[in-house]
Symmetry: C4
Subunit: 230 residues, 4 copies
């Protein structure tokens, strides 16, 4: 993939999360990964979204070395890189502080699968990472955030649950492209919003059973999917 | 009714639920039924709303056989058809995942008639379907969803309660035209929103009495209606 | 006041409650009263707001006899008239089903004065009417709704609390002009919204004391008011 | 700083809080302080935001004496001045009745630091002032409001917590410029919104530990900050 194309896709994902009202000011960041070149493009740190141009996206290798670009990358770069290094097939990552997903992260609760809206996109609860230790916070905090995400997904295919709640922090979402990562960030916020209303109506609400969950997720994903135009 | 007109009405109902912020991405779908021809037009599956043209609406008979159109119909077609087959006078059906109505479906609670906003449009609580069994989920899931709706309305005139909460899923609304079905989907979301705030203020809130309920519903509907321009 | 001017003001108040997102479809209505001529202008029943023209406003006398206009008046006319007949100085009335104020009406709870935002506009809690009896509902329902409002304000100057919650129904607001009535309807919804969040944070929240309440209300209203450009 | 520039900055901060939906009608006000001249510019009282021009900003000295301008200053002027007199480095103050921050003020609860969104901007909880006594309300209420804020910040650097909840009233925010004060008012509302959702999901939610709090705040602020373009 040409770097120009990757940068354009990453810019577009950054703009999408603004249009969908997931970010305030410079909160949040999107990146994309091109496995052929082993390169990542990411939003620069602290630059207002409305001023972003494709050439402002910072290009690094998977170790975080800047390969192209004059700006400093997002401070969350190391988290994004850890995800790309460990989650095969993930080519886009989006981090936001969207309100309802962040509230579940702050409440330190997974989002149970309360219904089919959730089941259509996440195969199981939305996972929550374990809290970082003081040592993990004190040194290489962003890398350790990525490691906590990777550890939480041991035994889980990350493409079946395209997002996570980082404990006391907020959501990261991902997907097979920067555009899909942005879409999953939007869906995660909507799932969290409906779950929070569900809990306010019925604090004893229960997750749905496996049969209904399977039906919905597998209708949209996987080899037997029947949804869409095929 | 000409198929072209039906398709145009169905497209318009699909666009209305987007304009009213009831759907995200390709969530949700609207259909219409022409009893003279015995034909149904429905949104195609997984096509972005902003790209929909009248000719994209898929036309089927009441058994679900595609009569006209090149796209695959909404995956919820079988649910819509079951409603048309059993609810006389229903000529439009709309399915959404609108947040507050979906939250009641996830909480597995009917929406009690807490006030006159509700009573103006729903004559009684908003019904909730029984959960599907594993067998009903495993085979002909969408048809069985329709059957659960029809079963829930045994003894209820569906035009006096133009919508339902499908357990753990979300709302279906209907009406005497695709436009009215869309309006009822919007009203159902607003009724659910106000009910959820009511419960957050007063978890012991009670449904209104029959006298007030009758006064409001019958003021707007039925032979003695005094509302509107007559 | 010329009837044309009154109609224009009433149209404008009807449009204002739409712009401020207080109404859905044809919910809600605004009226104005000209005491010199003893005439009231009110929104016609069930006409979409976007189609309203000044000449559509129906003009009646204080007994509800139509004096000018070809449309049927809002079904809530009798409630508006009862307010004008009993609340001197009230020249505008607005009825909405705005979500948070309606939720308090449905929860059958007054809105306590939790803070200075409330105290700036309502001198005391937002009153709630007593429920109507079955007999009051069965005959002259809208008039009896007005009577319940008037009864609730025995001993209260209606201009110091420019709105009320009708039990299980929703808010009516008023003021010294149709524009002020519309503004008070907007403020009442905002006061209700903040009160509902307050209660969700702290279900034991308490009303403020009289000293702070007096300071805020009297800073904005009455002979010693210091707010604004004097 | 030229008075014209200060007025322009203050006007812009007033417009920003409208654009960000923090104010209704004439609620809220922003001011700026130029320490070289010892002058403050503030919004005039009760003037609609959409009509504000730079020359309408009222200019006073730190004692509140009007130095330039023909309008009456915001009724909250004395609170702003007390903040400028005691908080070195604060060159902008913004007062709003934004809904969620106001709800915490009405609930008389500090906003605990539930997560990193909060920790990025407030180094500790968002403080709540003590209630004013009846004597403090009866005389020089606005000045005493300022004194309550200053007292609450004894031992706290106000630039590390750029805002406060005035008990039963609402938020004041500040910063090193009028623009930064407006931004902090927006951030405070968002922090309060997410905190209220957090509490609704988990009423037992706990503040984050010091290590995570330090990491986030110090990443964005102070000599070792690594965020942004340096």
């Amino acid at each position: 993939m040409l770097i120009e194309l990757l940068r354009q896709q990453v810019l577009e994902a950054n703009l999408e999360i603004v249009r969908r009202c997931l970010v305030l000011y410079t909160f949040g960041n999107a990146s994309g990964f091109s496995p052929e070149e082993g390169l990542v493009a990411i939003k620069p740190s602290g630059v207002p979204f409305e001023k972003l141009r494709p050439e402002d996206m910072v290009v690094t290798d998977l170790a975080g070395k800047i390969v192209d670009g004059t700006l400093r990358p997002s401070s969350d770069l190391a988290t994004h890189l850890e995800i790309y290094r460990h989650f095969p097939g993930v080519l886009g990552v989006v981090h936001t502080h969207s309100g309802h997903a962040t509230a579940f992260a702050q409440a330190r609760m997974e989002i149970p699968c309360f219904g089919t809206t959730h089941a259509d996109y996440f195969y199981g609860s939305v996972p929550l990472t374990a809290p970082l230790t003081e040592a993990e916070i004190a040194s290489e905090y962003e890398l350790n955030t990525g490691k906590a995400i990777v550890r939480r997904f041991e035994g889980i295919d990350p493409l079946t649950r395209p997002g996570v709640l980082v404990s006391s922090h907020g959501p990261f979402a991902w997907g097979a492209s920067p555009a899909k990562a942005a879409m999953n960030a939007v869906l995660l916020e909507e799932i969290a919003r409906i779950a929070s209303i569900t809990l306010s109506i019925n604090p004893q609400a229960q997750a749905i059973g496996k049969a209904l969950h399977d039906e919905h997720f597998l209708r949209k994903h996987g080899p037997g999917a029947s949804y869409g135009q095929g």
